[in-house]
Symmetry: D2
Subunit: 139 residues, 4 copies
Amino acid sequence: VSAIDRRVAESFPRQGLMTGYGARLVEAGEGRCVIEVEWNNRLTQQHGFFHAGVTTALCDSAAGYAALTTMAEGADVLSVEFKINLMAPADGQRLRAVGEVVRRGRTLVVVRATAFAIKDGRETPCAEFLGTMMTMAKG
Amino acid sequence: VSAIDRRVAESFPRQGLMTGYGARLVEAGEGRCVIEVEWNNRLTQQHGFFHAGVTTALCDSAAGYAALTTMAEGADVLSVEFKINLMAPADGQRLRAVGEVVRRGRTLVVVRATAFAIKDGRETPCAEFLGTMMTMAKG
Amino acid sequence: VSAIDRRVAESFPRQGLMTGYGARLVEAGEGRCVIEVEWNNRLTQQHGFFHAGVTTALCDSAAGYAALTTMAEGADVLSVEFKINLMAPADGQRLRAVGEVVRRGRTLVVVRATAFAIKDGRETPCAEFLGTMMTMAKG
Amino acid sequence: VSAIDRRVAESFPRQGLMTGYGARLVEAGEGRCVIEVEWNNRLTQQHGFFHAGVTTALCDSAAGYAALTTMAEGADVLSVEFKINLMAPADGQRLRAVGEVVRRGRTLVVVRATAFAIKDGRETPCAEFLGTMMTMAKG
């Protein structure tokens, strides 16, 4: 098991949305972050699959924390914008988002993420995410 | 008060995410849909503002239902992809998403939405959303 | 005829792509910019319509210059990212892009644009664009 | 040298924009396509780098043709939408776009591309592209 970046470990439980979802920080370090959540009926769209909003929130958090692991001590991360393609129904008992840094600039960090629906042990990529994070001096 | 499109009214409570958030369908008809949610500590990012995932989920639902109101009876709506710019912190007691149809094609419907953070009665646009919805024959 | 922002008027002819296209700066001021180009057979995709790359270039330039008109003297503008929905074939004798500022931040400016295909005097919106521009100190 | 997909080879010279740019089809097959163009002063933005519109046009064409190589005989490809992050100035003597299929659906194909600026033999990724292509029955 890889060590989890300290700053991400401290920030994650302060995200009420992630704890409200019951999401779990699986990995965070060196420009990469993995977050998972188990299915429950408060995370669904009208057909019982994970809602696009949940998929997006997981990708945004995983990508943002991936960016944070590459930033200087004392910096904070802010989502500027992102785009997501919902490629397949997020049909599974578990949803996993894997975020990565694509390019690290001084102010802006380009990030990507893929979400996977895990059903009966089989993983299906269900969303592809591309976005921009901003480095902020912590207030 | 405008009447709410029957199909949207039936679908909305089946979205576990929207009911889990405590979100409220305010308006739905003629290519437009408005959804609101009150702040609570399960909807937050690490600074206590509404999480980008909540803003996005509201915009996606408002935009998707705006599209549904323009579709033929018996059709269903699916989010293909979207992009969102988070323009300002979603700092407020309430979040509102206003979705609209930009262009209605046979299969694909282009949609937009704006999210507003409402604080002490003052509305600030906090996100701009542009996406694509697909018309599906209902299963 | 509205006056054209001096900085935009100076920058436009230095964009080899715009002059190569034969594009024309129609309007630029107060957070808005309009650019037009006449059809020619070096601007086409395989069906003879304006290529998505041309539509995008016009929207990007119109949106970027709209942002520039709101920036401090001596600043320069850089495209960070954008997304475009190609809603209808860009079928016409002329293509027009209308760019506008959505929100002006200190570093980042959110912009939008709509492209119109003009055929026999009739305008059809053919693309919707949403993006992010950055303010740069001029070198 | 890998063989170039026949349909792409036939379509490419009919894109007036690509021939007008002097772009070259380098590779096309099995869900992948590579297009290159040499710098000239009709492809530039105001600082003399490749214009974002050129980078986007190359990525769109490479991604669209990547999709076409996976489609049934007689089908045609249409760009629905895309998003691009311009990560670094496109500063070089040559620009290369590498397009790939991410997920192939019945109607919609999710595609990605990366653009590289090549300067004095050194390649720098300068843009990341994510988009949606549509399969069309040929008219």
